[in-house]
Symmetry: C2
DNA sequence: AATATAATTTACATTTAAGTGAAAAATATT
DNA sequence: AATATTTTTCACTTAAATGTAAATTATATT
């Protein structure tokens, strides 16, 4: 039906599937750990996003990593992380950094 | 006088130099982040240890990494980390893992 | 357009890792 | 042996991560 990268799963479904609160997904988004499609204000996630989020959970809960470390490894283009991290997350993060560099003080 | 790897600096001196509590160095040791020489019960650190600890502080405080992530990267033989991490820390950690694997339940 | 519904955002509470202080225990020194 | 120094243990503090619930905003429906 859907391929890996089609963003079609709404946030509640993803949260339920991962066994976490949707609040956590908003939180991750603030740190650019995931990059859902916005249609209006609604968010849609791909199968690839879900796999990635599962891996993030594993890194955090089984291995004890924190959010920022995962971000740092994305930025650093760490092979192990990049292998699992969706291309668009990397791109979004790059854009975010570029915007910040260009003196955009109005953003977080 | 001393070379990079001679373990000759006592804990208080290292703590003062790094501007941290010596208690924190004991804490790091529990996580195998550093591997001082024990002469009797006293601990001695090398110049290399001090440089490494300075880098660890930077990762944690400037970049926002946590302890466990640094450990994971040592285990994973991450190039960036290994570049800064003393050889003996890597070895000690390896030994620690080996001992744990071999069913030594009496250790942490 | 007013109302209902659903998603998002905000605010606050809880939990756990990281770090620290102080007391107790162990060891070394005079 | 008495004193000083280092280590260990226990308990507390602080901040990140995330849950809960209320407030806000958007969208759909009548």
């Amino acid at each position: 039906m859907f391929n890996e990268v089609d963003k079609s799963y709404p946030i509640e479904l993803v949260a339920d599937f991962l066994g976490i609160n949707s609040r956590t997904l908003y939180y991750y988004e603030k740190f650019h750990l995931v990059c859902p499609l916005r249609r209006g204000r609604k968010r849609y996630y791909s199968k690839e996003d879900i796999n990635w989020l599962e891996y993030v959970r594993e890194l955090m809960y089984e291995q004890g990593m924190n959010l920022r470390s995962i971000i740092i490894l994305i930025k650093r283009r760490d092979a192990v992380i990049l292998d699992r991290c969706p291309e668009d997350v990397v791109l979004c993060y790059k854009n975010y950094l570029a915007r910040k560099e260009n003196g955009n003080k109005t953003m977080e």
